[in-house]
């Protein structure tokens, strides 16, 4: 399967455009395996992004403390 991780939308065969959001949607579930995987990838990407931001905050906090 193609990696749509960075795309905000997925297009169905019939041309319908669905937003890929971290919270998911019934539309994505209805797309079946592809919709499910896109949603899960988005969730993971979002989670990773948060983790990165969190680690950045932590490291900037710790460097502030150190300094």
């Amino acid at each position: 399967m193609k990696n749509f991780q960075n795309s905000p939308f997925v297009k169905t065969k019939a041309g319908e455009q669905l937003q890929i959001d971290k919270d998911g949607s019934l539309g994505l579930l209805a797309l079946g395996d592809i919709g499910l995987q896109l949603w899960r990838q988005k969730k993971i990407a979002h989670h990773n992004e948060l983790e990165i931001r969190k680690s950045k905050v932590v490291s900037s906090n710790s460097s502030t403390k150190e300094s």
Binding site: T12, K13, A14, E16, D21, D23, G24, S25, L26, G27, L29, A30, L31, G32, D33, I34, G35, L36
Partner: protein, 853 residues
């Protein structure tokens, strides 16, 4: 070219919910299917329990043949309960037949299909999507869910756990979900569960369709049924007993569920492509409107009372008619239709028909005796499968939680016994639905013997006895139930009144029905149709019509109501209304021989001879012994369609159905019928008489009558008792003779003036005033009309031989006439014996010159 087919199952989908959603544009994908294809009602079966129904769909067989009789079954050691499994099925399913013929088949979620069966493709069982564990604990997939097992990892990853869902998934169902305290109200989680289950099935199925080769793919969603059982009570319009707050919160769940399924359908239609035939079906409907029951009866499987008798069918594909409506489809028709679609033979032991009307070019059907006797070698059914006890218990518990199964008795011996009883009760009902009364009766009798304290077995047995015509036995059971106050008294009164109808006591039945009319649930009991039947039987056609029209306002979807309405209008000569009503009835219940017969008769009267013949042929398909339909068909083929070969074939079958012969003495009253009966009696022919009407001065030698004859219009059973005997039947009853006997009719003729004089004298002797002045012309004409009509009818029947005998000739030339009668009766009597009782002195009203009018 292989014709691909995708079979999509939506448990409990109902047009009554779908139609308004389509009107609002809320189900665009189904709308596309409807406009581009063929749709119709899909009649369910009894009992309407999903595992039984979906197995009937997959096998084309009644439950009493396929072996699935409920939700649960006792384990082999009878120490625990387990859900019904694919291994419980005793006959072959469509995917097995197709796989054996090298078609690439896939099946996902069918109920029951665990453990996953071997097939020429991937099968995923109905336990695949179940969330038996918490997400954080890893949520292992139960073993046996996937065939081939090598694909387990691939599909395990495609399951959706309800805990994964977010507000985005729930808000379309419950827009004010944030107002709910989920620690107290767990209904939001149940919506998430149902939605996640459907998502898992969709994910697995789409993955297969996208990545595998396929010729046939079947998928089953139980979700509409689950949304409906949980939330239909909140569906608008609000019912009085529903709290406003709950209504406001949950009123959109059911429509949300349907809209979600439309999205699922849209994706599947996209993936299938236009070259594939798609068949969308549901196993039963679900009452969405004022027909919703307020309370679910407290009996095992009571949730079934929320179902409605018609599911949906929609088909679209290159060979399917566009924008077309089919009538008379049933669950048992799906498997034969799929077999024909692939050009495979239909097992003669399958119980349905091919839905050929859905196809632009009719499908050709071939038949084999049975697929069961043919050994399949390519794919084996799972055997010796044992579920682990933990999974077994979890699955049983899910069925309890969903309301399919009552709480399990703590004592397992009792729990096993309860399950066996429930399944046997369902088996009996399946036999009953399949018209196998004797088998149903035998099971119910056994259940009563073992469980004398359970009244519903007696109640159903009483109903079976009624259908079987064992009215005494039925009465005994009803009396027992009444005496011991075993059962709901109003239900018993309904049963009693129906029994009275069976006993032909229509006035008493009507009085009882009227007395409970306001106490029963008019919709469930269809009491108004029963009242209409009583009115019909006592000759109040207008009142019957009125009762039926009232019932129509309450519930339009009741086939017997439309049938009776059609019959009334046929009898009134309103053939257009009759045809419309009968078609409606047939659309709802296709396999009713009587409805097809009356449709044929009404079409005949409209001069539509070919379609009339088609309808009558259909009537014979459902009851080949229906000689009434056959007689009309013979007439149509002979007289109107110039098809003597078909007429001859039916004529041959007509005579094969004949059970015996009856001698009828007929004519107008006072035409000498009693004299002829007396002659036959003296000549040694056994007479069918109850001797109730004794000899008097009007008929000094007796009347030779039987009271049963007067009920011939309604009750024809007694004719069997008159076989090989002579029976007196007044001429206007002749057209009501059942056509399953041969008749030799001796039709007595007498001058009409003489008859009228004789009748008047008789009436005066009985105390009537001299009505001479009121009589003549009108009465004379009416007598003449009635006599001529009966004779004309009799002359057209191939099972009737008739001889006309003039009363005056018998008196004037007794031996010659007796000789003629003797020959007519194949010399069963001698002329000498026949003439012995003739008493010329009784010829008291002789005209000077007699002429036959």
């Amino acid at each position: 070219m292989i014709k691909k087919m995708m079979l999509i199952g939506w448990d409990a989908a109902d047009w009554k919910i779908i139609n308004p959603l389509i009107e609002k544009g809320h189900m665009p994908n189904l709308e596309k299917l409807i406009n581009g294809g063929t749709i119709g009602n899909l009649a369910t079966m009894d009992p309407a329990y999903s595992p039984m129904l979906w197995t009937s769909i997959a096998t084309g067989k009644h439950a009493y043949k396929h072996g699935i009789h409920g939700f649960l079954q006792p384990s082999e050691d009878k120490k625990s309960l387990k859900p019904v499994l694919s291994t419980s099925r005793t006959v072959k399913a469509i995917w097995q037949i197709l796989s054996e013929h090298d078609y690439k088949c896939h099946s996902v979620g069918w109920w029951p299909s665990h453990p996953a069966e071997e097939m020429n493709g991937i099968s995923i069982s109905n336990f695949y999507q179940k969330d038996t564990g918490l997400l954080k604990d890893g949520w292992e997939m139960m073993s046996g869910c996937i065939h081939p097992a090598s694909e387990e990892e691939r599909f395990a990853a495609l399951r959706v756990h309800p805990e994964e869902l977010t507000g985005q998934h729930i808000l379309p169902f419950v827009p004010n979900a944030e107002k709910i305290d989920q620690t107290k109200d767990t209904r939001i989680y149940s919506i998430a569960q149902v939605t996640a289950h459907a998502a898992s099935i969709q994910a697995a199925f789409t993955n297969i369709i996208r990545n595998e080769e396929w010729d046939f793919a079947a998928v089953y969603f139980d979700s509409i049924d689950h949304y409906s059982h949980g939330f239909m009570k909140y569906h608008p319009p609000k019912q009085d007993h529903i709290a406003q707050n709950a209504f406001d919160l949950y009123k959109d769940v059911v429509t949300g569920g349907y809209r979600y399924h439309d999205m699922l359908l849209g994706r599947l239609m996209d993936l299938a492509g236009e070259e594939t035939t798609i068949m969308l079906i549901s196993d039963h409907g679900f009452q969405p409107d004022h027909l919703r029951p307020k309370n679910i009866p407290k009996e095992p499987g009571g949730a079934v009372y929320e179902h409605s008798p018609y599911g949906v069918i929609g088909m679209i594909g290159p060979e399917i008619k566009k924008d077309h409506l089919i009538h008379g489809a049933g669950l048992l028709d799906i498997c034969p239709t799929i077999l024909s679609h692939y050009g495979l033979a239909i097992g003669e032991d399958m119980d349905g028909k091919v839905l050929t009307d859905a196809y632009a070019q009719p499908l050709e059907s071939t038949f084999i005796e049975s697929w069961e006797s043919i050994p399949f070698t390519k794919f084996k059914s799972p055997s010796n499968y044992e579920m682990d006890k933990e999974s077994e218990a979890a699955m049983v518990q899910q069925l309890v939680a969903l309301g399919y199964v009552d709480d399990i008795h703590k004592d397992f011996t009792q729990a096993v016994k309860d399950t066996e009883n429930f399944n046997n009760y369902n088996l009996a009902k399946s036999y009953l639905f399949g018209g196998k009364l004797n088998e149903a009766i035998s099971i119910l009798e056994k259940l009563i013997k073992e469980n004398p304290h359970i009244p519903r077995y007696r109640f159903h047995l009483a109903s079976c006895y009624q259908t079987k015509g064992k009215l005494k036995e039925s009465r005994a059971l009803v009396d027992q139930l009444k005496e011991k106050e075993y059962y709901n008294p109003v239900a018993l009164d309904m049963m009693e009144a129906t029994l009275l109808m069976g006993e032909k006591k229509y006035n008493e039945a009507l009085t009882l029905f009227k007395s409970i009319e306001d106490k029963v649930d008019k919709l469930q009991s269809h009491i108004l149709t029963k009242i209409a039947k009583c009115y019909m039987s006592i000759g109040f056609r207008d009142k019957a019509e009125e009762a039926l029209e009232k019932e129509m306002e309450l519930d339009y979807e009741y086939a017997p109501m439309h049938l009776m309405y059609g019959v009334i209008h046929y009898q009134k000569g309103n053939h257009d209304i009759a045809i419309e009503s009968l078609l409606t009835s047939i659309g709802m219940e296709y396999n009713n021989s009587v409805a097809h017969r009356f449709l044929g008769l009404a079409l005949f009267n409209k001069g539509e001879y070919q379609v009339a013949a088609d309808s009558l042929e259909m009537s014979l398909r459902f009851n080949s012994k229906n000689n009434l339909a056959r007689a009309k068909l013979i007439e149509i083929y002979k007289t109107h369609l110039d098809q003597p070969n078909k007429a001859a074939l039916h004529s041959q079958n007509f005579h094969q159905n004949i059970k015996g012969e009856v001698i009828i003495v007929s004519g107008l009253p006072r035409s000498g019928t009693s004299m002829m009966m007396q002659m036959l009696d003296h000549a040694g022919i056994e007479i069918y008489t109850d001797k109730i009407r004794e000899a008097d001065s009007n008929n000094p030698k007796g009347y030779y009558e039987h009271n049963n004859v007067k009920s011939l219009r309604r009750n024809k059973r007694w004719v069997a008792e008159s076989m090989d005997k002579a029976v007196k039947v007044i001429s206007n009853f002749i057209p009501h003779l059942p056509l399953i006997y041969n008749y030799k009719i001796i039709f007595m003729e007498r001058d009409l003036d003489e008859i009228l004089t004789s009748q008047r004298e008789m009436l005066m002797k009985l105390g009537a005033k001299d009505r001479h002045e009121e009589y003549p012309l009108q009465v004379m004409n009416s007598f003449k009309k009635s006599r001529d009509k009966s004779k004309l009818w009799a002359s057209k029947q191939s099972n009737i031989e008739m001889i006309e005998v003039a009363y005056s000739d018998v008196i004037d030339n007794p031996f010659e006439e007796a000789l003629r009668i003797s020959e007519f009766l194949d010399h069963r009597v001698t002329p000498e014996d026949l003439i012995k009782p003739i008493d010329t002195k009784l010829y008291r009203q002789r005209k000077k010159t007699s002429t036959i009018n």
